[in-house]
C-alpha cells in the first residue's frame, strides 16, 4: 500500500467517524479492554475500560430516552469531573441531545441564568449540594423537568417524581435492553442518525462583561479540533491525562472528552478537588494542562519546602538549579550544549530534577500546556529547565480551543506560538487578531446579534485581542484590542503589553504607560517595596520611607537599566520598536485601591490616574527634568495625609529598529 492511499484510507475512516458517539462505538471495539476513564473512589483507582464505558453510556442513554429526552433537547451537567458526568456527555449526544456543562461553583443567580437561557429539560448533577441549588431556582426554570444525581449521599429523604438517581436511570436502560431485543439496534440507529454538522455542545463563556454567551459547537468542530490537537503533539491511546479543570470550560471539554475520544486516551478523575496534587502524582499524566497560577503555586511550594531542607540538599538544589537554568532549556530544545554541561545536567537529573518532577506528578509528562494569561518568563524557564516540556497555547471557546500553539523545539516565553493545524490567522488593520479554522463555532445560542459582531459571513472570527507576528512567525498577544491605541506617528501602542513586560522584573510592582495621542510612550513606575527593600538591606542602603527608597539614585539607576533592557528587546520587534519608553519616572507613593488608583482586583484605573497625576504626565511630555507633586493619600487606618516631593524624570536612549524588511504576513 503506498502512502497516499494509506492516508486516504485514514481520511475516509475519519470522515465516517464524524460524531463523538461514533468515536465511542469505534473505540469500544478497537480499544475494548484498554482504560478509558479512571476515578479514585474510597482510596482506590477504579477503571472503566472502553467497552465498560460503552456499556455505561448505552444504559444511561436508553434510560434518558425512557425519561423522554428527545433529539435537540438540552441537558445541563453540573459537578466536578466525574466519570458518570463525562459519560452523560456521550449518552445525551447518542440521542441527538445537546449537553450544556455549567460551572458548578457559579453563584445561584448565574447558574439560574444559564439553565434558563439554555432551556435545559434535564439537569444531571453531582450531589446534594447541586440538587439543592437547582431545586432552589426551579420556579425560574419552566423547561426543567428532571434532575438526575450521581452521589446519593444526603438525598435519602428527598421526595419528588422529578428526582432520579443516576443508577436508577441506568437501570431503566438496562431493563429495557434485557426486555426488548430491539433496543440496542434502535440505539445504534439513533447514533447513526447523528451528523458532523449537528450541534454537539453549548459552552457558556464566563464573560467579563454582561451575561454569559452560549457558544454552540458542532461535532465537526470538536472532532476535527481534537484530531488536530492530537496530531500536533502525537497523542495516542498510551497517553493519560488528569481531568481537574471545570467541565464547563472548553479546554476540559476538548482535552478530557474530545481528544480523549479521538485518540483513545485515558482520562483520570481526581478523588476530590483537594486531592488533585496527590492524585496527579499517582496517575503520572503524560499530558498536563494548567493555568499559570497553578505552576506558580507549585513552584512556591517547592521553594518553601527547600527552605526547610537540610543544607546538603539545599546546596545541591541551588547548584543543579543553576546548571539547569544554564543549559536545561537548550537540551530540551535539542540545541548543541557543551559535553561538560550535558554530564552535569545528567547528574542533576538523577539527583534533583527527576525527584522534583516526581514530587510535582510530572515524571511522565510529555507535553504540558499553559494558557489563559501571560506567564512570567522566569517561571516558564524554571519548568523547562527541569526538563518539563511546558508550552503555551492561545485559544478560545469560539475556536474550539486552538488558535496557536508552540511546536516542540520552538518554545518562547514571550509568544503564544504558531497557528494550529488548519488554522488561518489574519491581523486586522486595527491590530486585532482574526482567525478561521474548522473549530470555528456555529453561533451563539439565541443571540444572533453577538454572532454577527464576532463572526463574519465567510467564517473569520474576531478574537478581541490585539497581536502581531514576530520574526519567527510566532503570534504575540499584546492587549485587548479595545485598549490598543496609536501614537501620533500612527504606530501601534499597547499599554498593557509594555506594563506587563516591565512588571516581569521583580523590582517593578506596578506600571502605567502613556502614549495614546502623544508622540512617544512614557511610563509611571511603582517599585516593589519588598524586593527593592530586600535589595537595599543587602547593599546597606538606608531609607526611611517608601518615598525615600523610590527616589534613591541607586534605585533609579536599577530601574533605568530595566527600562533600557526592555527598550532593547522592543527594538527587535518591528511592530513594537516605536513603543520604546522615552521618559519614565518612579512614583513617590504606591498605587493603592484605597486611593482609587487600582480596582479591588489590583487593576490599574487608567482614567483616574490620568486625572490625578495630570501634572506628572504633562511633565513627562514637556521635557522638564523634575516635577513637584503633592498627593493626598489614605493610610491603612483611614487617616488621610499628603505626600509631597520632587520627582526626577529620566530620559532614555532609543534603539533603532532592525533594518531587515518585515517578514511576510503569516496567513
Amino acid at each position: 500500500m503506498n502512502g497516499t492511499s494509506a492516508s486516504a484510507a485514514v481520511a475516509a475512516r475519519e470522515d465516517a467517524l464524524d460524531t463523538l458517539p461514533k468515536l465511542l462505538i469505534s473505540n469500544a471495539s478497537k480499544y475494548a479492554n484498554r482504560p478509558a476513564i479512571r476515578h479514585k473512589d474510597f482510596g482506590i483507582w477504579q477503571t472503566w475500560s472502553w467497552s465498560r464505558l460503552h456499556e455505561e453510556v448505552r444504559a444511561l442513554s436508553i434510560g434518558l430516552r425512557k425519561l423522554d429526552l428527545k433529539r435537540g433537547d438540552t441537558v445541563a451537567i453540573i459537578g466536578d469531573n466525574r466519570p458518570r458526568l463525562y459519560a452523560t456527555f456521550a449518552a445525551v449526544q447518542c440521542l441527538g441531545g445537546i449537553p450544556v456543562p455549567v460551572y458548578q461553583d457559579s453563584v445561584a443567580d448565574e447558574m439560574a441564568y444559564v439553565l434558563e437561557h439554555a432551556e435545559a429539560s434535564i439537569a444531571v448533577v453531582e450531589d446534594q449540594e447541586q440538587v439543592d441549588k437547582v431545586v432552589s431556582m426551579a420556579d425560574r426554570l419552566p423547561h426543567l423537568k428532571k434532575i438526575i444525581y450521581d452521589d446519593p449521599r444526603g438525598l435519602k429523604d428527598y421526595q419528588g417524581s422529578n428526582l432520579h438517581a443516576f443508577t436508577d436511570v441506568q437501570k431503566l436502560g438496562r431493563d429495557e435492553l434485557r426486555g426488548n431485543p430491539g433496543a440496542d439496534g434502535w440505539w445504534q440507529d439513533e447514533i447513526a442518525k447523528g451528523k458532523g454538522s449537528d450541534v454537539s455542545v453549548v459552552l457558556y463563556t464566563s464573560g467579563t462583561t454582561g451575561r454569559p454567551k452560549g457558544v454552540m459547537l458542532t461535532h465537526t468542530n470538536i472532532v476535527v479540533s481534537a484530531r488536530n490537537g492530537n496530531r500536533f503533539d502525537n497523542f495516542g491511546p498510551d497517553d493519560t491525562l488528569l481531568a481537574y479543570l471545570p467541565m464547563a470550560w472548553v479546554g476540559d471539554h476538548l482535552f478530557s472528552y474530545g481528544q480523549a475520544y479521538a485518540a483513545g486516551m485515558c482520562v483520570c478523575c481526581p478523588e476530590s478537588p483537594e486531592t488533585v496534587v496527590e492524585d496527579r502524582r499517582e496517575v503520572g499524566p503524560t499530558y498536563f494542562f494548567a493555568p499559570p497560577r497553578v505552576f506558580e503555586n507549585l513552584l512556591t511550594q517547592i521553594m518553601v519546602r527547600m527552605q526547610d531542607a537540610g543544607w546538603v540538599k539545599r546546596k545541591m538544589f541551588d547548584y543543579f538549579l543553576a546548571v539547569a537554568q544554564r543549559c536545561g532549556e537548550n537540551i530540551l530544545n535539542g540545541k548543541p550544549v557543551a559535553l561538560a554541561d550535558r554530564l552535569r545536567y545528567r547528574l542533576g537529573d538523577l539527583l534533583i530534577y527527576a525527584p522534583l518532577r516526581n514530587r510535582m506528578g510530572l515524571s511522565r509528562t510529555r507535553v504540558a500546556y499553559t494558557a489563559g494569561e501571560a506567564i512570567g518568563p522566569e517561571l516558564f524557564r524554571f519548568y523547562r529547565a527541569l526538563g518539563i516540556n511546558l508550552k503555551q497555547l492561545y485559544g478560545q471557546t469560539e475556536a474550539s480551543v486552538y488558535i496557536t500553539l508552540q511546536p516542540d523545539g520552538e518554545v518562547y516565553s514571550d509568544s503564544v506560538g504558531k497557528p494550529g493545524l488548519d488554522v488561518e490567522i489574519r491581523i486586522a488593520d486595527s491590530g486585532e487578531v482574526l482567525f478561521r479554522s474548522p473549530g470555528v463555532f456555529l453561533k451563539y445560542f439565541k443571540n444572533d446579534e453577538a454572532t454577527r459582531a464576532a463572526k463574519s459571513p465567510d467564517g473569520w472570527v474576531h478574537t478581541g485581542d490585539a497581536g502581531f507576528f514576530d520574526q519567527r512567525g510566532h503570534l504575540k498577544i499584546i492587549d485587548r484590542a479595545k485598549d490598543v491605541g496609536r501614537l501620533n506617528s500612527g504606530a501601534l501602542f499597547a499599554p498593557k503589553y509594555l506594563e506587563n513586560r516591565i512588571k516581569f522584573y521583580p523590582e517593578v510592582r506596578e506600571a502605567v504607560a502613556f502614549g495614546q495621542g502623544h508622540d512617544y510612550p512614557t511610563m509611571l513606575i511603582n517599585i516593589d517595596p519588598i524586593s527593592v527593600g530586600y535589595w537595599a538591606e543587602r547593599n546597606n542602603i538606608a531609607y526611611g520611607s517608601y518615598q525615600e527608597l523610590a527616589a534613591h539614585p541607586k534605585v533609579y539607576e536599577m530601574v533605568r537599566q530595566r527600562v533600557d533592557e526592555m527598550n532593547k528587546a522592543l527594538a527587535q520587534e518591528p511592530q513594537m520598536a516605536a513603543s520604546q519608553i522615552r521618559r519614565f519616572l518612579i512614583l513617590h507613593k504606591e498605587l493603592d485601591a484605597d486611593d482609587g488608583e487600582l480596582t479591588r482586583t489590583q487593576k490599574v484605573r487608567r482614567p483616574f490616574i490620568n486625572e490625578r497625576y495630570a501634572a506628572l504626565i504633562a511633565a513627562l511630555y514637556d521635557g522638564s527634568a523634575a516635577c513637584h507633586v503633592a498627593t493626598e493619600m489614605t493610610f491603612e487606618d483611614g487617616r488621610k495625609g499628603v505626600v509631597e516631593g520632587d520627582i526626577r524624570i529620566v530620559d532614555m536612549p532609543v534603539y533603532p529598529a532592525p533594518s531587515e524588511p518585515l517578514r511576510e504576513a503569516a496567513e
Binding site: G43, I44, D151, K156
Partner: protein
C-alpha cells in the same frame, strides 16, 4: 457505587432498642476526688437516637460526667444502666467494647501516625486475628484488614478528609484533627458517641462543617450522641435535649428552649453569689 457501612453486628442477647427508649441512664451519681466533689447526686438519661447536650460553666463537672459514662472514673455513689444492664466495675475498654466511643477535649490522636492509621486504630476492637497473623499479613488476616480498610475509607469519604489520608495528624490544623478524631470514634461503629467539646477552637466555617457531620452521623449511622459544648448557638441548634450542670449539680434538664429560659441556668451563667 457507595454502599453504606456494613450493618452493625448485633451482639447476642442484646435486644435492639427502638428510637426514644432509654439507652443509658445515670441515677444519683456522685463523684469526689479527695475533698473535691465533682458530681453531686446527678441523674439523667440518654435516649436512643437523640443528641443530648451536657452544658454548664467551667468546672461544672461536664467532662467528669463524660468520664463516668465512659468508665474512666468510678462514681462513689449511684447507678449507671446501659442498654438495660446495670454496670459494675466499668473500664474504658469495656465501655468501648459495649459500643461507647468518645472524642477528647484536647485532641488525643497519635500525632506521628497518618490520618488513615489513626482511624484504623478505631477498628482495633473489631479485629479478630492475632498480632502474629497480622504481622504475616496473609490469608484471613489480610482479608480482614481489607475489610476494615474499606470501612475506614467510607468514613474518610464521609468526613471529606481524603486529601489528608496519608498526612501525619501532627501536621494538620486543629479543626481537621478534630475531624480525624471523630473519624476514629466512628470507626468503632458505636451505639453511643461521646463528644467532648467537638467545636472548641474552631472558626465559624469549621463549626458549621462539624455540625453538619454530627447531624449526618445521627441520621445515617443511627448513632446516639452525647456532647459537651460551650458554643450555645451550636447546642441550641443541634441538640434534642440539654442537661445543665453547675458545681457538680444538675440544675436543669429539658429541651433547648426550656433550658434557655430557666432562671437557675441564667444565674449560673451570669454568676450569682453561691
Amino acid at each position: 457505587m457507595k454502599a453504606d457501612v456494613e450493618p452493625r453486628p448485633v451482639v447476642a442477647g442484646d435486644a435492639a432498642l427502638a428510637p426514644g427508649e432509654v439507652l443509658l441512664s445515670v441515677e444519683h451519681v456522685s463523684l469526689s476526688f479527695g475533698g473535691i466533689r465533682a458530681l453531686r447526686d446527678v441523674s439523667f438519661d440518654i435516649r436512643k437516637g437523640e443528641i443530648r447536650a451536657i452544658i454548664g460553666p467551667n468546672g461544672a463537672g461536664k467532662t467528669s460526667m463524660l468520664n463516668v459514662i465512659n468508665g474512666f472514673y468510678h462514681p462513689q455513689d449511684g447507678i449507671i444502666t446501659f442498654k438495660g444492664r446495670r454496670r459494675h466495675n466499668m473500664r474504658p475498654y469495656l465501655a468501648a467494647s459495649q459500643g461507647i466511643a468518645r472524642t477528647f477535649q484536647n485532641v488525643a490522636l497519635f500525632k506521628g501516625m497518618s490520618t488513615l492509621d489513626n482511624i484504623m486504630t478505631g477498628r482495633t476492637l473489631k479485629m479478630r486475628r492475632g498480632i502474629l497473623a497480622h504481622m504475616l499479613h496473609w490469608g484471613p488476616a489480610q482479608r480482614e484488614e481489607i475489610r476494615h480498610r474499606e470501612a475506614v475509607e467510607h468514613i474518610i469519604d464521609f468526613l471529606e478528609i481524603a486529601h489528608i489520608r496519608k498526612v501525619p495528624v501532627g501536621k494538620l490544623p486543629y479543626g481537621l484533627q478534630k475531624r480525624v478524631e471523630l473519624g476514629r470514634a466512628l470507626a468503632m461503629e458505636p451505639e453511643l458517641l461521646l463528644l467532648d467539646e467537638p467545636m472548641a477552637g474552631m472558626n465559624l466555617e469549621e463549626k458549621q462543617d462539624m455540625s453538619r457531620f454530627i447531624l449526618t452521623v445521627k441520621d445515617t449511622f443511627d448513632t446516639t450522641i452525647a456532647l459537651i459544648e460551650h458554643d450555645m448557638g451550636v447546642v441550641m441548634d443541634l441538640s434534642d435535649r440539654v442537661v445543665v450542670l453547675d458545681y457538680g449539680r444538675k440544675i436543669a434538664d429539658g429541651t433547648p428552649a426550656a433550658v434557655q429560659g430557666d432562671q437557675a441556668v441564667i444565674d449560673a451563667y451570669l454568676g450569682v453569689a453561691h
